[in-house]
Symmetry: C2
Subunit: 342 residues, 2 copies
Amino acid sequence: MSNKLTIQRIAELADVSKATVSRVLNEYPHVRPHVREKVQRVISETGYQPNNIARLLASDRSSIIGLVISASAQMIFNDPYFPALTEAISGGAADNNLILSLFVSYTEKQGRDTLKGILAAGLLDGLVITADHKGDAFISQLQEAEIPFVFIGRPSAAAGVNYVDADNVKGGYLATSHLASLGYRRIATIASDQNTAGDDRIMGYRTALRERGIAIEEGLLAYGDYTLESGYAAMNELIQRGPEAVFVGSDTMALGALRALREAGLRVPEDIAVVSHDDLPPAIQADPPLTTVRQPIAATGKMAVEKLAQIIINGQDHPAQHLINPVRLIVRASCGAAQLSG
Amino acid sequence: MSNKLTIQRIAELADVSKATVSRVLNEYPHVRPHVREKVQRVISETGYQPNNIARLLASDRSSIIGLVISASAQMIFNDPYFPALTEAISGGAADNNLILSLFVSYTEKQGRDTLKGILAAGLLDGLVITADHKGDAFISQLQEAEIPFVFIGRPSAAAGVNYVDADNVKGGYLATSHLASLGYRRIATIASDQNTAGDDRIMGYRTALRERGIAIEEGLLAYGDYTLESGYAAMNELIQRGPEAVFVGSDTMALGALRALREAGLRVPEDIAVVSHDDLPPAIQADPPLTTVRQPIAATGKMAVEKLAQIIINGQDHPAQHLINPVRLIVRASCGAAQLSG
DNA sequence: ATACTTCTTGAAAGCGGTTTCAAGAAGAGT
DNA sequence: ACTCTTCTTGAAACCGCTTTCAAGAAGTAT
């Protein structure tokens, strides 16, 4: 309604055909420089903005991608991970001239329904999927719909699926090795068995211990679901086992672990060292500040969108790509390293 | 591409014209029940889904609404407020058959640019705007574009603007009155002067004190920006003044305040009582659990979308509506009430 | 010059719906 | 039985842009 200008009007003003205006708009070759300039002048003078909808209809592309977040409410609201990721993806979409639509669901079943609706509507060019569960149920649905998609976080059935992930094995390895190198031997871990990130971090943990010839004591492995509460509960369990150090699978769970330790009268790092994972704001705010494995969330989000944009334009590549982002250890006070060296 | 079915094909199968199929699709009257059923049968048998884009082009409506979040990264990542709100709006959009697009910006200037892009693209039917600043700059831009919009949180220039907000004055009033009724006299507050929510809560605070005949001591007012850190800093300032109680403008800032108190060796609620605002998860997780004013974030988000949907369909109403959601006090341990009564 | 290519360009045919318009069918009133 | 309304319905125009196709213009090789 605000936009009375159509391509037809511009064509008239520039004294060419609609087709030529369209060519200029889409930067096609085969337009004489002289004509191209004239059209561009008219466009900028009038402030003409092509109608996207019409464009989409004619070109069979919407430039809208969806971000599907399927995770428990607990997790979405208490761990800054999802906000951080969402923000990165939002920015990435803007950079790629894509509109980002957001779909949030709390359970796997709800996620499937949401997805069904999205796919049926057929408005989206592609999807970025991220879930706190293994989410394989989504994959067949997506593949059937033949819509381009990229996962964030490796799905457990990853064959043929494009995904972007952090190097979680390395993350668990770095954290654990760091603790081991500081001389700790009884190193516990609080991980998650809900998704592959948790599995991978445990694998890194095991590898690090094995490499150092430290026997793995299954009683030193506890599980949480990324919430502060679960970290608290898991730590309380572990305390019985008298660990010297603990690698916690997320900053938020580490906050819970710290609370459990404080209540038990244990000092960090003097009585027990803590290293966590993610390096989100809580890590710095914690008392003591957490030594943690930094995960490049912003880069991950951006890469996912870029990969998706590329698939949308060029078609799926074979084989599917698995993009793994490097992680690195950020040393703060909770591991006791500063204390030892200082 | 997956969808080879067109309205034309359905028309052929049902042995009617495209126009009639369209009428059935849009639930228009003047179609014989018998014909309507036949068409519906064909539609459900084939699983036909009308092409949205085409629909939009023809009907000049996109069914896409935007959510513009303009707030500092600090705030978006550290306060569950925005995730909670986003989730509610996402759900509300789904309920109203609207697609939600997300736009995040960190600064007011960036927000204006984002908005400019959105408006120029002309793809959206309406916008929900929420900002941590007073954000009035957006309003003229929106009004010029003649796009329907609803604010969440009262903009300072609210005339003629539809908005949904919590009853912040009441929030400040309830919190402060509660503390006063428990016998505290030197009641401090940590508020924000960045947005109207903060202003309103302070107003409620002042009113409550005035009503009880408690003199207002300007030194007992400190300011924060909704981050944990700012709550910590503000509390440290206030400690000098020896308050008996403090009303903190958000749960997250209260967490910071609690830390400052703990470090100062003050016990909550024995040495100083704390009441906060929002009742988001941190309030329960805090130690001690926070007495806080519950703000119906989910309802607010939902109402905003519904209001927007209504404006999109029926046009702007005059005068603009201001929807204020009630708040209520949730009593937990941090105010000392339980202790007194138990 | 002549015959081919290669460029440029506009006309027109979509894209898949919605909406207008007119006409035939059915119902109402006298 | 006849006229005037009100229902139903299909044909066709239209939404605003992209893309195909064909033709005229320009450039090149003989």
